[in-house]
């Protein structure tokens, strides 16, 4: 594609999709929509509760493995 072709193509493109006017303004105040979006945010996950649950599960499994050593190969198989 030579420079003439490129220039012509650019002009055609600008004819088809005219540039947006300078410094356009939204048609409405967007702050109320922003507040609605902030209110709709999902509650943050509580990692501390999951950490507690994970620790309890791990301790249970360790206790069970200590009481029934034969279960260890079964656990390893399913990991």
């Amino acid at each position: 594609m030579n420079a003439y072709d490129e220039d012509r193509l650019k002009k055609l493109l600008q004819q088809a999709l005219p540039p947006v006017e300078a410094d356009p303004e939204p048609g409405r105040d967007l702050w109320p929509a922003m507040l609605r979006r902030l209110d709709a945010r999902p509650a943050a996950p509580r990692p501390s509760s999951w950490a507690w649950f994970d620790a309890a599960l791990l301790a249970s499994l360790a206790a069970f493995a200590a009481l029934v050593p034969a279960s260890i190969p079964v656990f390893l198989y399913y990991l």
Partner: protein, 192 residues
């Protein structure tokens, strides 16, 4: 979150640097107030930038809110020393790019493509529509570079910063976009 109806200036420290530091490092209350002030200061610029990319006012408004939502969540990655505008522009560009990737080309095109003031009378509305449709068929990352650099004639340096790529990469994307567009138009018999 503390809800407010005003512009938030009462609780805000004076000066841009203090404002940006309050946004990044401030207490939850200072952060909320700084966010509101930054929203009011920059929403118009962010909206204008997104409108240049998506070319649809209603979509640009929605994406402006989406951009500030991402800004709100990305507080920890903000560096006050590098300024807010460029950072916000990069986030806005990413939000617009995500939208371009998810939207079907037909849904982006206005029903009537307005003729520019300097329209060539030899280029009919139908041809303009075909060109616009061919342009919409380009990959979003090529389209966004060509939109900003060719249609909007923005400096390639600004385009590169907004896209997070080098100026050379912008030139390459624009070149590829124009080459693919030309091939598409040739197949339709619009250009030789």
């Amino acid at each position: 979150m503390a809800r407010r109806n005003g512009k938030g200036e009462e609780r805000m420290p004076n000066g841009s640097s203090d404002l940006l530091n309050a946004f990044r490092h401030g207490s939850p209350e200072a952060f909320e107030a700084a966010f509101e002030t930054l929203f009011h200061q920059h929403q118009r610029a962010v909206y204008g930038w997104i409108l240049r990319i998506v070319r649809n006012p209603a979509t640009a408004e929605d994406l402006t809110v989406e951009t500030f939502w991402r800004i709100y969540r990305a507080r920890d990655s903000f560096q006050p020393s590098r300024g807010f505008e460029g950072w916000a522009r990069r986030i806005a560009t990413r939000a617009a790019l995500d939208w371009l990737r998810s939207a079907r080309p037909e849904t982006e095109l206005p029903a009537e493509i307005p003729a520019p003031a300097t329209a060539d009378s030899a280029v009919s509305a139908e041809i303009r529509r075909k060109i616009a449709l061919a342009f919409q068929r380009l990959a979003p990352k090529l389209r966004i570079a060509a939109t900003l650099a060719v249609i909007e004639e923005l400096p390639q340096k600004d385009v590169a910063e907004a896209l997070g790529i080098s100026v050379a990469a912008v030139k390459l994307r624009v070149f590829r976009a124009l080459r693919l567009l030309r091939r598409d138009l040739q197949q339709q018999g619009i250009t030789s």
